[in-house]
Symmetry: C2
Subunit: 389 residues, 2 copies
């Protein structure tokens, strides 16, 4: 076997998810894709804002624009545009140097983990958490540890404090959250900041907060407080995947709080790592997003879908917390065995992801980045399945 | 210091190159960019082929095209288009499954190294070699070892055979070569294949050949033989950075020979690693290059520049091998200390990269991906500097 051992083990560990997707593809081939209710993927289907096409065409027609390498941390004017926007949004004065343009949020997470973590050091998350975090930790040679969250999927400061060790270098949070849709409040972020400050003091080294915020603009009747205001030793990771529906174009950034310990060194090193992992973020998309700061997709589409789905599932007797952000519903499995319940849903041609994949058995995740018709067409199936158990 | 130790050491090691670029920027600020002859960067300045703009516009106007996530190893139709093109070019029957679309050749190298190498295992290259290889090795936790090449920068089978150890998992070659412009012949690739076959037998495990070919189409009075024909256990890494002048857009691929040992497992795992490093190659560029298979920039521009530069430097008394490919000239330094000579060139406002950065002290590299005027304007300065030593 020529495959690196640890990588081979990860491929095996992902076999469950792979089998699930293959089963979904089989169902679609057998029954027709339009007859399968696929809630398994978080791939935004809302179109990009109308301005996006025009911005691209303007760039194509501009003979001053080339497609050559950009500086590794991004085009200076693009970093400045992001810094200006973030300064206003967060009330923190960012310079362009604090911004690194990246290959989506995934690229930003790989950059910052590789920058901050020696092999064997730890990243602390709260469960449930996005399945990819474990993989990014492995890429950095680091170890992902998880602390439980509260019953309604919010931060539990005591659990976090108990889980920090002398090997914890990074606390990683995600708000609005995938898979739960929770949005952390200002007061819980303040509490988290206090926990991290105490723990940094206790272990004699700085613990950095990495806040992964790709769903920041996908919120309903809620605002996402600025995490920079709660803890200065913070790096925000973001992408335009959801707010501009550009997930496949791989454009995002990281931003280092100017008051973070060794802020300049961290941003500079993350840019250096960026050069090794991907050289630079895609050039034309860098230029495009610089012209679209603050523009978003039509959020009301996601909100309408959330409402149809929540109403339908509540009627059918499912239990869940109504999500305030992102486009996921994290539902309590009527069976303790969430894999078994997800298999029951499959009999109704409904595809969901079991909570065990997010470190939270006993739940399943539905993505409502799907057409309204998928949601309304599935509700009878959800109802029948609920009655079976 | 919050920076991971090994990464911090790499940042320090790159300080020489960084200082060089800063010095270049200072000279441009002081004397005006148009008065500085900058041969230090391999950033293609020849415009993309005329079709490229139209292909992009067609994609933008096509409402069937979205910007969502693509499958991790790439869009099926794009992989098929690349497989079909490579099948005809190399005379090897590639299926779409053998192709992984990547974030440029850098992404492909990171994918395949992480796939094949356990921490501490070795990648063997021949010196001189592209400076980034060492960094990609570090990203994979692997170790880069180098064997000398022949006096005219070709493969030295005996030196390679002597340098292979029980830890060698990958032999990495680059033809047309950066920094030397050498193009390896069919017979030397055959000899290399025989060496790797014997070494694999001797150490009881397969050594894979990774062939990095971003300059494949940038050749003059030469053809690049298919390395797949010389050794089946080969993965070719390529990008559209140079052949379509899209370096900043980060689009490339890797292709696994169908007869390589465990070919399917290797391609599948590389696609899996791709998901962790960057999720997928940029979507719109995947679609664009699928429509531009076999199209290239105007190679005659590079050839003309090569000829002006070679004639001028030969007249001035410099020694070099005329490059058959890529857009670099690797010149013998008239001083044994190449750093010292590069500093002398700087007095004439000429920027070059010392050979020591490529594992080949005693030489310097000139990139002729620069306007003709930069070349012609620099020749008097080259002449004066030659006379000084």
């Amino acid at each position: 076997m020529p495959i690196a051992k640890q990588i081979g083990r990860m491929v095996e560990a992902s076999a469950m998810i792979k089998a699930m997707f293959e089963e979904g593809a089989r169902l679609k081939a057998e029954h027709g894709a339009q007859n399968v209710f696929d809630f398994s993927l978080g791939n935004p289907d809302v179109p990009p804002p109308a301005q996006f096409k025009q911005v691209l065409k303007d760039l194509i027609d501009d003979d001053e624009v080339n497609h050559g390498y950009t500086p590794n941390p991004g085009i200076a004017a693009v970093r400045q545009a992001v810094a200006d926007y973030l300064s206003a949004e967060h009330g923190v004065p960012f310079l362009a140097d604090a911004i690194v343009m990246t290959v989506g949020a995934a690229g930003a997470l790989n950059d910052i983990f590789k920058t901050l973590l020696n092999p064997g050091e730890q990243i602390l998350v709260t469960a449930p958490y996005f399945v990819g975090y474990n993989q990014y930790a492995v890429m950095a040679g680091a170890v992902l540890k998880s602390a439980p969250s509260t019953a309604d999927f919010h931060l539990d400061p005591a659990a976090i404090e108990a889980a920090v060790t002398e090997k914890t270098r990074v606390m990683l949070i995600n708000s609005p959250n995938n898979p739960t849709g929770a949005v952390y409040s200002k007061s819980e972020l303040d509490e988290l900041g206090a926990v991290l400050e105490r723990a940094s003091y206790r272990f004699g080294r700085r613990i950095y907060l990495v806040s992964d915020e790709p769903y920041r603009k996908i919120v309903y009747e809620a605002e996402v407080p600025s995490v920079f205001q709660s803890y200065p030793h913070t790096i925000v990771v973001n992408s335009y995947s959801k707010e501009l529906s550009l997930a496949g174009e791989r454009i995002g950034y990281l931003a280092v709080h100017p008051d973070a310990e060794d802020a300049g060194l961290i941003a500079g090193t993350a840019g250096f790592i960026n050069s090794m992992l991907c050289v630079n973020a895609p050039a034309m998309m860098q230029r495009a997003v610089a012209r679209l700061q603050g523009v978003t997709v039509d959020i009301s589409i996601y909100q309408r879908r959330r409402d149809i789905l929540c109403r339908g599932l509540a009627d059918a007797g499912y239990e869940f917390t109504v999500p305030l952000g992102a486009f996921y519903l994290f539902v309590k499995s009527p069976l303790a065995d969430d894999m078994a319940f997800v298999n029951l849903l499959k009999e109704e041609l409904i595809l969901a992801v079991p909570g065990v994949g997010f470190g939270a058995p006993g739940y399943f995740r539905l993505s409502y980045a799907v057409p309204d018709a998928t949601i309304s067409g599935s509700l009878e199936g959800f109802k029948r399945t609920r009655k079976k158990v």
